[in-house]
Symmetry: C2
Subunit: 143 residues, 2 copies
DNA sequence: AGTCTTATGTTGCATATACAACTCTTGTCA
DNA sequence: TGACAAGAGTTGTATATGCAACATAAGACT
């Protein structure tokens, strides 16, 4: 793996930059559906687990519950889902259709990304990701 | 490096999650100075290159110029810098002091991060980062 | 059932971003 | 030097987030 010498860039800065760049790329891909990547991601997750609650999504994605609340409200205003504390989130017809289309787009974009980046780069991200999230789990065993 | 099998997580989603998590950790560290990580980063960069212009920062950080404009305005309101198209950005006394303190904090946090994550994880991020940014440069040779 | 605790969701307020449209410099070239 | 092209910065509008404070709903235990 040829460890580069004492890494001198800022980890947070770099991650934020990468996140901006990649978000931009994915947003472009989803623009045709009139959704952002963040929204597409939620649509696909709710599609995969109808009835999931905001809190569960927030935990999985490590997004603040208030942020999730607002994302959901926006998607509800757009007519993509119904929300209900008791039963959880369900996609409407429109939301469901959009989710399916998003998944197609995602598959293409994802495959593209894998091809362009190559397995090593992707494995590199996995390594970093696993380590960071593992560390985080350790610090917070039963939150 | 033991390449994990066909990575099945979403690259954009993962990067965004990591970015949220790490931003949170760094924000905590800088909270004592009353700045966010994003602001601390700008302070440190302007400290290192007095007179740099918004546009240059925006290019380096790959942030939209309008976003940069607003970040700068906020920091100006906070009394940390002066802005001027002709001469660029300069820290005030207060800004300069804060920048120095932020740098101390950053060094500590960064070292901590390196220790906790370990060289492999960090190298993994570098690998990913280099590949992504390189690809991006190729697509856009002389923007 | 009634109460107490905990989890869930919302709202107010603030930052960090993006895109588009606009203004204002700056520089260049005839 | 005057007109025009390019670059820099702003503003309007919108999304994505976070923290704190609050409201509310769910569950558990008596």
């Amino acid at each position: 793996m040829n460890p580069t010498q004492p890494e001198n860039y800022c980890i947070a800065g770099r991650l934020r930059l990468l996140s901006r760049v990649v978000t931009g790329l994915y947003n472009e891909a989803f623009a045709a559906e009139g959704v952002t990547f963040a929204q597409a991601g939620l649509l696909m997750r709710i599609f995969a687990r109808p009835g999931i609650r905001q809190a569960a999504l927030a935990r999985t994605l490590q997004i603040e519950k208030s942020a999730m609340s607002r994302d959901v409200q926006l998607m509800q205003r757009n007519g993509w889902l119904t929300d209900n504390v008791k039963n959880g989130l369900f996609l409407t017809e429109v939301g469901s259709t959009t989710a399916k289309r998003c998944h197609k787009i995602w598959k293409t974009v994802h495959q593209n990304a894998l091809d362009q980046l190559g397995p090593e780069a992707v494995a590199g991200l996995s390594l970093f990701s696993d380590k960071l999230l593992q560390f985080q789990t350790e610090s917070n065993p039963n939150p």
